[in-house]
């Protein structure tokens, strides 16, 4: 009990004293996850909107693949990417393996289907609701995509936050392609795994608390956005 109290106290001390190692890990984690979210979002928004509004050959296949990939096992992504980026792989010349860029790539691949699928659902819901009106107005898909994205902005923010939550909590893929190298590719999740195995629970606990804080913040933000929307609709 005493040991447990001591771990909590030291973990809290690491956070409150803004410990340099802790800050470095948190900072790299945020940079990697935010970059991954940015890349995935830039691809997922147009992809989701196009899938929501257009019908074309292969539409069902792409939608099914995206939906299936929402539950993509991170270690499989890590393994695939490892094979691509390793020296003997087709992208070995880029020298990305065991770098933060490889981790960004891994997280982008993991969250792209999530954001794109959620976007597709949200925009499709709006599109179907207006479809007869669009036909009556003679409006085509390319006329309505931007206004629809604006109407679906809350769902867009929620899907991006979901993607960020998934990216920041990810461990398997970034461990494989990042290598968990000190000062290079050590992020919160991989550090927690490493430090726990070494018995250094204070740092692991401190990082765990920060991860929990991020997770709660994201959930609270999503609830705020949802409730704000419901309140406005009600009024």
């Amino acid at each position: 009990m005493q040991e447990s109290t001591s771990i909590w106290a030291q973990a809290w001390y690491l956070i409150s004293s803004l410990d340099a190692t802790l800050l470095e890990i948190v900072s790299l984690s945020l940079r990697v996850s935010l970059s991954a979210v940015l890349i995935a979002t830039l691809i997922a928004i147009p992809l989701g909107a196009i899938l929501a509004c257009y019908r074309f050959i292969g539409h069902t296949a792409i939608t099914s693949i995206l939906t299936a990939l929402m539950g993509l096992p991170p270690v499989v992504v890590g393994l695939g990417l490892y094979m691509l980026l390793s020296r003997s792989g087709p992208m070995g010349d880029l020298n990305l393996l065991f770098s933060s860029s490889a981790m960004v790539l891994a997280q982008s691949i993991l969250i792209l289907p999530i954001i794109a699928s959620l976007m597709q659902q949200a925009v499709a819901e709006h599109y179907q609701r207006h479809l007869e009106q669009f036909r009556a107005l003679g409006a085509r898909q390319h006329h309505v995509i931007l206004p629809l994205l604006w109407d679906a902005r809350r769902a867009l923010i929620t899907s991006v936050l979901t993607g960020f939550g998934r990216a920041s909590a990810e461990v398997g893929a970034v461990l494989i392609v990042g290598g968990n190298i000190n000062h290079v590719s050590r992020v919160m999740t991989t550090t927690i795994a490493l430090e726990t195995s070494k018995g250094n629970l204070e740092l692991a606990m401190a990082l765990g608390l920060i991860l929990l804080f991020i997770s709660f913040s994201i959930t609270s933000l999503m609830i705020l956005i949802r409730d704000d929307h419901r309140l406005k609709n009600h009024n």
Binding site: E132, R135, L137, G138, A139, R140, H143, P147, D151, N233
Partner: protein, 243 residues
């Protein structure tokens, strides 16, 4: 009103519309030649809205054809506008919707401002132009729907039971607008099941029953002495047995 409308006559040739095995518009033929207001009258479920949507081109007939002055309607033509019974809008301002439809119809930018101001003024929405649609009343929303159609200066305005959810003052306001549009030379084709409204507005009546044209007549003669048995029953407010 006998102004020439370049898109008339409207000819419906053996028009049918089916969903699955159910025929909703059944081999309907008619011709609308005159300007003014043609009212498509009939009870709920008679096929009025479907017929109007077929006339516009939003729906394609299962069989038969529609000709506006010998032309088949095309979705890229903006000489006709359709106001739906339940119009939908983006989560944007009143003005945005008018700008949007002018953009869709590729109306010259230089005309946008004048057209929007005119449509807002005539529909009594000038004060509300920056308001979000979600904050408008039912009557204001229907007037916006009309403004959105009117901003295109359509030669033909198709109205699908536009006043069905409005209170009497809003209905009166709406009908005044419809008459103004007719007087400016647009052909109005409107569906309703409301007999007094049809009497107030109609120059011509097409009475629809079970997807078929039961009667087409000039309004005065229709309301004085309808020739079809079905229309006589309807005007007396009697229930019509389903056949």
């Amino acid at each position: 009103m006998t102004q020439l409308n370049p898109h008339l006559p409207l000819r419906l040739d053996n028009l049918s519309y089916s969903i699955g095995s159910k025929t909703l518009i059944d081999n309907l033929s008619a011709e609308i030649k005159s300007a003014g207001i043609s009212i498509i009258l009939g009870h709920n479920g008679a096929g009025k809205s479907l017929l109007l949507k077929l006339m516009h081109g939003v729906l394609q007939p299962s069989a038969g054809a529609i000709y506006w002055q010998q032309q088949i309607p095309d979705s890229d033509q903006y000489w006709r506008s359709l106001v739906l019974q339940k119009p939908s809008f983006f989560e944007r301002s009143v003005r945005f919707h008018l700008e949007f439809i002018l953009g869709v119809s590729k109306t010259e930018k230089s005309q946008h401002r004048e057209r929007i101001e005119h449509a807002l003024e005539i529909c009594g929405l000038s004060e509300l132009h920056q308001r979000k649609v979600s904050s408008l009343s039912g009557g204001e929303i229907q007037r916006l729907s009309l403004a959105r159609a009117w901003v295109l200066r359509p030669k033909v305005l198709l109205l699908d039971e536009p006043t069905v959810a409005l209170d009497p003052p809003a209905v009166s306001q709406f009908e005044t607008l419809v008459k103004q549009f007719r007087d400016s030379g647009s052909k109005i084709i409107m569906t309703t099941h409301d007999i007094p409204q049809a009497q107030r507005l109609a120059d011509e009546v097409l009475f629809i029953y079970q997807g078929k044209l039961a009667e087409q007549a000039e309004a005065n003669s229709f309301f004085k002495a309808p020739t079809s048995c079905i229309a006589q029953h309807y005007l007396k407010g009697q229930l019509i047995a389903e056949t």
